[in-house]
Structure formats: structure tokens, C-alpha cells
Amino acid sequence: MEIRKGKYRLDDRNLNFDIVADLNFNKSAGLFYFRGGNGFGKTSFLEKVIIPALKADSLRYLYIGQDIRTQLYTLRALLSIQGFKVSDTDEVELLRLWINQGQSASVLILDEFDKYFPDYGFIFDWSADFIRTYIIVTHLAMNRRESFADNYRIFNVRFELINIDGQLKNVRVKNE
């Protein structure tokens, strides 16, 4: 899956992304970190650019969003429907079951999951056998070394505010 360089305008979010260079998610096992200021569109970029591109390429993905509360309710319901007895299952086990169910996925997206678990290497333990690309939105510093990252090629994608034109935010997206 590739996001070509160019302008991507999201009128309903008042965002206009300028992707400086092609973002190629097809390279060898990759860890893409998305960083940038608050309100610069990282989550919108996931939802409106990355996920539609994954769907267009028929690539399956798992997405752990920022609003973990809603997602955990949904996971519990989803797994119940699939026949799992999860009424008393703790939340980490819920996530493990869900990830284990998603082995047809090749992309895993984590949107600020590190605020719940600063050390979230267990997600990699559960998924590294089938996930090829991880996309991680984070506010953690770039110099923070994570042990699970050793096995992956790292891409640091930065979201920078160029200017605000009326209500529209022009945001540069560049791979550092």
C-alpha cells in the first residue's frame, strides 16, 4: 500500500495535508511512527487517508483507537457474538483474543495506545507472526528506545502545521 505524495484535503475536518514524499507501506516489516502537535490531523489522517487506502488495496487491518472505552465495549460485544465467554474477561485478555482472531490482518494501527501501556511490547508478542506493518501514533519522544522496534525498519512520519488559512489547517506530512 502506498500513499502518493501530494495534497489531500479533508474539508469536513478542515485539514489539508501536503505529503512531501510517497509513503510506502510495502517495504520490509515496518514500524511507522506518526508524531506531531495536537490537532494537526494524525488521527484524521489514519481514518480518512490510511484506512481508505488499506480498504482500496483489500488489505486487512486491526485498529486500536484513542477512545479505548468505546472500543473495549465493542470488543466485548463482538467476541460474545463470536461465541467467546468474555463477561468476566479482563481487558488485556480481550485485546489478546481480538488480535488473535485477526490473523488475516497485515497492518496494525495503534493510536496513542502507549498512554495506557507505556510498555506495550506484548502487542508485538501477540501479533508479530502475521502483522507486517505497524502504524503507531504517539507523543513519546523519538529518542525513546523500544525493544520490540529492533526487528523492524523504522519510519518517523512528522505532521507539521504550515499555516492556518481561515478555518483550514495546512499540514505538512513528511518522512524524516
Partner: protein
């Protein structure tokens, strides 16, 4: 193991702390409504104060009527902190202990520093203390030794 245990958090800490929790930042849908519920009146001065402060955090598109769900996660966290700070000042509340849960982790390094600075200012004038909880332990955040850059 719990990722998100609101009941546990409240049971443990609500007697001693005012808790700002990332997944429950507001009880209404806009700054205007939130201020109305907290002040029981349309307090335009307080709203202006929050809106002005939000602009210092580059939330240019802030307005009193805008639905919270249209802000990013980090922006919502900042707005909740600014609302709390403005209320503490307006009501001249002293000696409050505030517990931030997954709040500072939701904002950029730059905004985190600015927010901590704002809490530090109110600590000096209103004896307000700021804490976070990690792995079951409470930590106080102080300028100098507590800037929560990880």
C-alpha cells in the same frame, strides 16, 4: 489486568483528588454547556478566558459552541485542563489536589510543558497540586523534577 478501570480509579482516589480522566473529560458537549453546568449561568468572562487560553495552545478553531467531539483527543485534554484552571481561579479554590489520568500523555511535548507551567502558576497562587498515577502509584508533578517528558 485493566486498561481502563474508571470505577477502580474513583474508588481509590476520588475522596482525595479531583480526577481528570482522558475518556471522561466532559459531561456535556461544548465549552458553553460545560461552563453553564459548572457555574449555573452563562459566564461569558470565564468562557472568553478559556477560549483565549486555548489559542495559546494553537487551538485556533476553538469556540464556545463547538462540539467537543470535533476536537482531536489532545485538544480535548488541553481544553479540560484549561477549564479546570479557569474554574479554580474564578472560584478562588485553594488546596485542591488534581489527578490527571492519561491526560498529559495525550498532548504533544510542547503543549505538555505549557500545561504543566500553567498548573505550576496556579500551584503557587492557589496551592493546587498536580498528580498522575502510573502502575498503581501516585506521583506528584512539579516543574523541575516532574515535567512528565518520557
Amino acid at each position: 489486568m485493566a486498561i481502563y478501570d474508571l470505577d477502580g480509579l474513583l474508588d481509590k482516589y476520588s475522596d482525595e483528588f479531583l480526577i481528570l480522566e482522558f475518556n471522561h473529560l466532559f459531561i456535556s458537549s461544548s465549552i458553553r454547556e460545560e461552563v453553564w453546568l459548572l457555574q449555573r449561568k452563562n459566564d461569558s468572562l470565564l468562557i472568553d478566558k478559556i477560549v483565549q487560553a486555548a489559542r495559546e495552545f494553537s487551538i485556533q478553531e476553538v469556540s464556545d459552541e463547538r462540539d467537543f467531539e470535533t476536537y482531536s483527543g489532545g485538544q480535548k485534554a488541553i481544553l479540560a485542563c484549561l477549564l479546570t484552571l479557569a474554574l479554580i481561579d474564578d472560584r478562588k479554590i485553594h488546596g485542591l489536589n488534581i489527578l490527571l489520568n492519561n491526560v498529559l500523555d495525550s498532548v504533544s511535548e510542547e503543549n505538555r510543558s505549557k500545561l504543566v507551567q500553567k498548573f505550576e502558576e496556579i500551584r503557587l497562587t492557589h496551592n493546587t497540586r498536580l498528580f498522575t498515577e502510573k502502575d498503581g502509584y501516585i506521583q506528584e508533578i512539579l516543574i523541575g523534577n516532574g515535567n512528565p517528558q518520557r
